[in-house]
């Protein structure tokens, strides 16, 4: 990633464009997967980056909403021509989005944000996801396992982790989204649900704790989910001395650094903290730099 004025998530090649809905399918209860044709974004986007999406036909809702890259998909020539993302229906914008049909146009701008670190320096990479926070990890896992490359020019990893695991927690089985997508060669997938309707009964952090106590503990953790869950993951990582990165899901108005809405408290060298914009300094932060 080219750093720009110390803002790791400012993307000088981002574009604003009109995308076209190509697929729109349910992933789980209240959860949909959208595939949008937008070659200029698909060509360059990296795992852990995001884009903003809105409906240009209306001003209520008016602002775009941020969505993490689930994966890119290729056109007939084998080049990426669009992006996929998952969303959970929670409010006015996502309710409107459920009415989008194949062929509809939407406004989309990106890629935005810094993305996860290039997974080339780790032996055992643990991905930890809560709720809809699992969506960034499909592309991360595919890249880390050598199944797909991203970016322009295509990012080629000099080294791959020996193991990649995904610990994915949801409220209940019906909310587990896109499990079929995560059936990837080499991905060690573990599930937890709060009510025990699938996988481990309990929190996803318990799966991570067991993994840390196991025979080949992770030496890197990437995490995305609700903040209390990410704070718990950060504590586990810190206690075990494991490098950990968190991808924040802070609400945003613009997504590219001009509104100063999406601030989070970041530790400074002198021990104090300052508000920093999640969109242009993140959304992925080393866990120890955040005041959670």
């Amino acid at each position: 990633m080219t750093e720009c004025h110390g803002l790791a998530g400012l993307v000088p090649t981002a574009v604003q464009t009109t995308g076209r809905v190509v697929e729109h399918e349910p992933m789980a209860r209240d959860t949909m997967r959208l595939r949008i044709e937008c070659p200029e974004i698909a060509r360059q986007i990296l795992p852990g980056q995001f884009f903003m999406v809105r409906d240009p036909r209306v001003t209520d809702p008016m602002l775009g909403r941020p969505f993490a890259l689930l994966d890119t998909y290729d056109g007939p020539t084998g080049e990426p021509i669009g992006v996929e993302f998952g969303y959970i229906v929670v409010g006015k914008m996502t309710e409107l989005m459920t009415t989008w049909r194949v062929g509809d146009e939407c406004e989309i701008w990106g890629p935005l944000g810094n993305g996860f670190p290039v997974p080339k320096d780790f032996e055992n990479l643990a991905l930890v996801a809560g709720g809809i926070g699992q969506t960034p990890f499909l592309a991360v896992a595919k890249e880390a396992l050598g199944h797909r490359s991203y970016g322009d020019p295509l990012r080629q990893l000099s080294n791959f982790p020996q193991s990649v695991s995904l610990s994915y927690g949801a409220r209940s089985a019906e909310y587990l989204a896109g499990l079929n997508l995560f059936e990837i060669d080499g991905l060690d997938l573990e599930i937890s649900t709060d009510d025990g309707s699938a996988g481990h009964r309990g929190f996803v952090t318990e799966l991570l704790a067991a993994r840390i106590a196991g025979e080949s503990p992770p030496d890197a953790i990437y995490c995305c989910g609700p903040e209390p869950m990410m704070a718990a993951v950060a504590r586990l990582a810190q206690e075990a001395g494991i490098s950990c990165w968190l991808s924040l899901e802070t609400p945003m108005a613009c997504g590219f650094g001009i509104c100063f809405s999406c601030v989070t408290r970041v530790r400074l060298d002198d021990g104090s903290w300052d508000y920093r914009r999640t969109c242009v300094e993140g959304p992925v932060f080393p866990a120890e730099t955040l005041v959670l």
Binding site: E107, I258, C259, F260, Y275
Partner: protein
């Protein structure tokens, strides 16, 4: 082709489409999305004498056809601005209008003296109307304070001065008159309308700062009314801002009496909009047989009584 140049007393701009303070960052954030050379001017985020952390999140919440914000003038202070942002801003092929706020006349004087060293700036806009900070920043609710701050700034700085005023008063006209009397080159109308959002189930305000400023298409009728009131009664150029998101919106403000306009909240959801509007404006003026922007400014025809 219609001539898009506009002159607001000492301030001349290549076209009347500016981007508003607080909705364009420090410009480098938007570089990917917009051709700066097409804009009439860029007004970066408000700078204060000292760094300010800003208000706790949530800082914004969308409302019907608009949004509330309570950012709280989050900025790194004037010295950091001059050191880290100003070179970049002044390197852009577009007039730069700095925007500043202080707690009192003395702070405005400090800001004026520091910015006076940069004659490359096109002008300075005084944010005397931010609803999100306490401690006397809302000067523009009081004509005497407005006059005092504007004249203090003018006396300490040779750059053209614009006063950005608040709609949260009974009569903006007397505040605008005070700014004019104090020698402001123009007034910007309007800053945000003070508002509130509530999560009734939690019995809590949604914004971290409890209240915030309403912006976006929802406030356009209020902005138009105030622009019209001031432009038709006070002898000072008006820069209109509030909910503009289309060329029709721009023309409504011009007809109401604005000599120029600012694109604000719309840049959040349409980052390339301002440049596109600047491109399209000359076509419409040609269709209206206007040779220059001034031919359409203030052309509102009122019903006969």
């Amino acid at each position: 082709m219609a001539n898009l140049n506009v002159t607001l007393n000492r301030l001349s701009l290549q076209n009347p489409i500016l981007v508003a303070s607080g909705t364009f960052g420090y410009a480098r954030e938007t570089a990917a999305f917009i051709d700066f050379s097409k804009l009439g001017g860029i007004i970066p985020k408000t700078v204060t004498p000292q760094p300010r952390a800003g208000n706790p999140p949530p800082r914004t919440i969308e409302t019907s056809c608009g949004m509330l914000n309570s950012i709280g003038l989050d900025n790194d202070g004037i010295d950091y601005f001059i050191e880290k942002h100003l070179d970049y801003l002044l390197s852009l092929d577009c007039p730069i209008i700095a925007n500043v706020a202080g707690h009192n006349a003395e702070e405005f004087k400090q800001l004026a003296e520091k910015l006076n060293a940069f004659p490359q700036l096109a002008a300075v806009e005084l944010n005397i109307s931010c609803p999100n900070v306490s401690g006397g920043v809302d000067f523009a609710t009081n004509p005497e304070l407005t006059q005092q701050v504007v004249s203090t700034f003018r006396n300490a700085c040779d750059l053209p001065v614009i006063a950005k005023l608040t709609p949260n008063v009974t009569n903006v006209v007397e505040i605008a008159q005070a700014a004019a009397d104090a020698g402001a080159d123009a007034v910007t109308l309007i800053n945000t309308l003070l508002g509130m959002a509530i999560d009734w189930k939690k019995r809590k305000p949604i914004l971290g700062n409890v209240v915030g400023g309403l912006s976006g298409p929802a406030i356009k009728p209020v902005a138009l009314r105030i622009v019209w009131q001031v432009a038709s009664t006070v002898d000072i150029p008006v820069i209109g801002v509030g909910g503009i998101q289309s060329l029709d919106d721009v023309l409504e403000f011009l007809v109401a009496g604005a000599s120029a306009v600012q694109i604000g909240t719309a840049s959040f959801y349409n980052p390339g909009l301002a440049a596109r509007l600047a491109d399209e404006l000359s076509t419409v003026l040609d269709e209206q047989n206007c040779e220059s922007v001034s031919d359409i400014v203030g052309t509102l025809v009122l019903p006969e009584k």
